[in-house]
């Protein structure tokens, strides 16, 4: 009897000591942002939560969460609804501007197979630059009007660029620039901050509840969620870019959406893409 109580108190002391050291390391972790550790923990969270899902299948969003949907989608992929946009994008991409130059002149490798490098941190500008932003800057530099950031032409162009990059692993770098780290941290903060009348954060749906139903929809996991962009959504009856997805997410939780390509949206795209490093590009995607 006595021996046992000594034993339990010893165990309790040990447990306390472990807890204290855990707490200390947690404090250290919050003091110094460590994106690499974040990415590792992010991946581990999803692979632990969904041990049956193959890692590279997470990019297929809701389809990775539900077997029936996965089958339906495989059938749909033989004849995907984004085909028209893809073809339009290919045509637009190769058609020269009025000054004779093309999109290929604005991008590395002629714009082919580079989707996995976006968004990147521009050290000259001190901000995150997304593919959509780079496309519109390319247009403006060549004397053309910029496109809407949310759909139509922009989504067709990014659909084509994503298609040429399919299967390539997401490869986002955070340069050793305090502003890059700050942008990453800002994106992370935006992702985990609750907002709107429903008091949801991005993480409420896409970290806490992937695979759960929200009305008729199945929520996609945040891990690799941008790899499938842009997407054809049956609900939208058309294509949409990352900006369109963010805006709709905000308004569905009854928060005030930001302007497309505002700093916060760029930063949250940077954060989400960074933690999905290594997952293949699967865009353009089709979603219900």
């Amino acid at each position: 009897m006595r021996a046992r109580s000594v034993l339990t108190s010893a165990a309790a002391a040990l447990a306390f000591a472990t807890l204290a050291s855990l707490a200390a390391s947690a404090i250290a972790a919050t003091d110094a942002p460590d994106p690499a550790a974040d990415a590792k923990a992010f991946k581990k969270f999803f692979t632990d939560k969904f041990p049956k899902v193959k890692v590279e299948d997470f990019v297929n969003g809701p389809y990775s969460m539900n077997e029936d949907m996965h089958k339906q989608w495989e059938e749909k992929e033989q004849f995907p609804p984004y085909e028209f946009a893809l073809e339009a994008g290919k045509e637009m991409f190769s058609k020269p501007f009025k000054n004779g130059k093309t999109y290929a002149d604005c991008f590395a490798n002629g714009g082919i197979g580079i989707r996995q490098n976006y968004p990147y941190f521009d050290e000259k500008e001190g901000k995150v630059v997304t593919l959509e932003l780079a496309l519109n800057r390319c247009r403006e530099a060549n004397g053309e009007q910029p496109y809407s950031y949310v759909k139509d032409e922009m989504a067709s162009l990014t659909a084509y660029m994503a298609f040429t990059s399919r299967g390539k692993p997401m490869d986002i770098k955070i340069p050793s620039d305090p502003r890059a780290l700050a942008a990453y941290e800002n994106g992370k903060r935006y992702f985990y901050t609750r907002r709107g009348q429903l008091n949801f954060s991005c993480a409420t749906c896409h970290v806490q509840s992937p695979g759960e139903r929200i009305r008729a929809e199945i929520l996609a996991p945040a891990y690799g969620i941008l790899n499938a962009m842009p997407i054809y959504r049956s609900e939208w009856n058309g294509m949409g870019t990352i900006s369109r997805r963010f805006i709709t997410c905000n308004s569905q939780t009854r928060a005030v959406p930001l302007e497309p390509q505002s700093d916060e949206y760029r930063d949250v795209e940077y954060f989400l893409s960074y933690v999905a490093n290594g997952l293949p590009i699967s865009g353009p995607g089709a979603r219900p």
Partner: protein
Amino acid sequence: MASSIRVRATANGDLTDVQALIQHPMDSGFVKDAQGQLIPPHFIQQLTFEHNGKTVFLADWGPAVSKDPYVKFSFKGGAKGDDLKISWVDNKGATDTTTAKIG
């Protein structure tokens, strides 16, 4: 301009599986635009699939069919290499036709 019709037809034993995707606004006539003006009705009224001159699938469509409609069906009698002719007519009299090979 590229064709508004995308077709894939595959022979599968004595059945031929056909899938088609058609690009069309399919405006019902009941929707208003951003200025509050009604968007006039504009939809496909008839869709025809012909195999060796014989109609194998005929659809009479109305405003309730969604934008960029998708059709899937199968029929008996098709063989690999045969031609399948697809055409549609909309309520404004516009039309488009394409011919696909059964694969």
